[in-house]
């Protein structure tokens, strides 16, 4: 699972601020990150200190963290998973596709890809001030997201071993990729004299429960949107190398091929369970998950425009490109997707950003909690109505041509 992709606010995309507070989710910079031994330059020490200093609970503004929608950790109904992929119960499973995928994962295209060099530390030392902080946040969120994929896939690999060894092994190999990605990002944090305590994260984070079919929709989108984010950043920086602030982006081209393949695997899982693709409920859920994922990314990224601008990208243009491409990709498997190319869709997203900014402002104001909540009510109502309106926009019928009843005369 790539970077921000896993930041799905799936069930409650509405109010990140109140959620992160109420849920008591960890504040990364205060508890998950630890400072590595010593820091050499004064400036480094200062920046590190701001990033890790224990936060006073009451202090309203903490620059980057207050409105943070931290990447989620998922768990699922493993017994149901075992049932779904039991080859004895489920005779329709297309084992050929799974075996082909297993072959691809065994090939391990990136076995020797994630090797660091001295450029990393040099680039990190050059980065100071707000940019440095934003990079730390980027590394930390990305690492958490990859690590959450590692935990979920690892457990699925373990649990499915008996009922479907091929699917189980694919999950294990995907967890290999995620671990590699998370490890590489965590090494990146060490350039900033920080490290994410993954053992602590495993125990302390809250896990969001999803039924298997929701795991399929959510992780499919998460992997594919991760691919589109990474490849877009990579290709943009290749064309505009003056914005190459930190060498990790040079690794994105090969890296995101892993994400894309992970997505293909969920595509195959969904094809093997046509009941998740072929009825009206599947269409409604597909649209719901598309909307959740796109909106969450858009709101998240619009809160961090400094990062994208630092890379020479226009945040909204970048996001719309990623959304449109992810949606086109997703249309090859989901039975319905959103009409994101309709300009009205972007207008709705932009209005949500405005509302979200107002909500954030209330969160940071000095009002007492009751007043804050009262002020939030009309805004949340506005956000909900935008979301509902976006959800109800006429969808685009879609799906794999392997079930091409949506367009029987398709010409290739």
């Amino acid at each position: 699972m790539a970077a921000a992709a896993a930041e799905l606010a799936l069930m409650k995309p509405i109010n990140p601020i109140s959620k992160s507070r109420k849920g008591g989710t960890l504040r990364p910079h205060s508890s998950q990150l630890r400072v590595l031994a010593s820091s050499q330059s004064g400036a480094t020490a200062a920046a590190t200190a701001t990033a890790t200093a224990p936060k006073k609970k009451k202090s309203g503004k903490t620059e980057i963290n207050e409105t943070l929608l931290t990447p989620r950790f998922y768990t699922t109904d493993f017994d149901e998973m075992e049932q779904l992929f039991n080859t004895k119960i489920n005779k329709k499973l297309n084992q050929a596709e799974f075996e082909a995928l297993l072959n691809e994962f065994k090939t391990d295209y990136n076995q020797t890809h994630f090797v660091r060099n001295p450029e990393f530390k040099e680039a990190a030392d050059k980065m100071q001030g707000p940019l440095r902080k934003i990079f730390v946040e980027f590394l930390e969120r990305s690492c958490t997201a990859e690590f959450s994929g590692f935990l979920l896939y690892k457990e699925l690999g373990r649990r499915l071993k008996k009922t479907n060894p091929v699917v189980a092994e694919i999950f294990s190999l995907m967890s290999r990729d995620e671990a590699r990605h998370a490890g590489f990002l965590n090494k990146g944090l060490s350039d900033f004299n920080l490290a994410l305590d993954l053992g602590f994260l495993t125990k302390a984070r809250k896990y969001t429960f999803f039924k298997p079919k929701f795991i399929f929709y959510a992780t499919y989108l998460s992997e594919k949107i991760g691919y589109w984010r990474y490849i877009t950043i990579y290709r943009h920086l290749k064309a505009n190398p003056e914005f190459q602030l930190y060498p990790i982006f040079k690794y994105f081209e090969n890296w995101c091929q892993d994400e894309n393949r992970h997505g293909d695997f969920f595509s195959a899982l969904l094809k093997a369970q046509p009941q998740f693709l072929n009825d009206w409920k599947a269409k409604l859920w597909s649209r719901f998950f598309c909307l959740s994922v796109y909106v969450t990314m858009y709101l998240n990224d619009c809160q961090r425009t400094a990062f994208y601008e630092g890379l020479g990208l226009d945040t909204k243009e970048f996001d719309m490109h990623v959304i449109i491409e992810t949606n086109r990709t997703t249309a090859r498997i989901f039975p319905a997707v959103l009409d994101v190319e309709n300009p009205e869709f972007k207008r709705k997203l932009d209005r949500m950003v405005e509302i979200n900014e107002k909500l954030a402002a209330i969160g940071e104001s000095q009002d007492i909690p009751v007043v804050k909540n009262l002020k939030r009510i009309p805004l949340i109502a506005g956000l909900v109505s935008e979301l509902v309106a976006a959800y109800l926009m006429p969808p685009v019928e879609s799906g794999s041509v392997d079930f091409a009843d949506f367009e029987p005369q398709i010409v290739y």
């Binding site: 050929a96 596709e97 075996e99 082909a100 995928l101 072959n103 691809e104 065994k106 090939t107 391990d108 295209y109 076995q111 020797t112 994630f114 090797v115 660091r116 590692f150 690892k154 690999g157 294990s172 190999l173 967890s175 290999r176 671990a179 590699r180 990605h181 998370a182 490890g183 590489f184 965590n186 090494k187 993954l198 691919y227 490849i231 877009t232 290709r235 943009h236 290749k238 064309a239 081209e253 090969n254 091929q257 894309n260 293909d264 595509s267 990208l313 226009d314 243009e317 970048f318 719309m320 490109h321 449109i324 090859r332 498997i333 794999s400 041509v401 392997d402 398709i410 010409v411 290739y412």
Partner: protein, 223 residues
Amino acid sequence: MVAPATLTLGPRAGFPPNQAKVPSFDRRPSFPLPPNCSHLNASSSRGSIPRLREKLYFPPLPTVRAVAVDSDQLGSSEPAQVEKPRRYYFVVANAKFMLDEEEHFKELLYERCRNFGERNREQDFWLVIEPKFLDKFPGITKRLNRPAVALVSTDEPWMTFMKLRLDRVLADNFEADNLEEALAYNSVNLNFEKPEKWTAPYPKYEFGWWEPFLPPGSSKSSS
């Protein structure tokens, strides 16, 4: 340091991956190609190759190199040996889809090319513009916009994966006596109209990126 070392992985983690591939590769005789037909060499004579090499080629791990499967295979398939007919798998769609629109397709082919280079594996996949074998598949041609482009390979599982990835392609297979026959094509000019609005924050992949994957000996791809 390699990242995975920092985390505990499944037992698969350190497994030299191509061992698993060797058996399937071994079963089939590899076909004789002129020595310069391995993809990296073949490419080096063309414009886009130095870049490809620079960008995608990583020195192989010593352990991987030590497997040395390919050289054995080469030894066993001396050109003198009589070629047996073999099965070729393909996915096909119109040229614009394959070469212009699906940019991840280019990434996959370059990635595979890099991987084959690292593991000293002989190329077993090609892109064929307007392949002649299509004449044998009227069921496919009547649903196909022209010019068409096929991805052809002897690796059946990989082609199953490619069908899953590309989705909007037609798949089938055929038997041919030799590579030349399998990859025969009709010359055609490719010309893709510029996209009306290109909103991506990066340029498109260059026209002709597919040239390293055309059948051995084919001249430049039209245009």
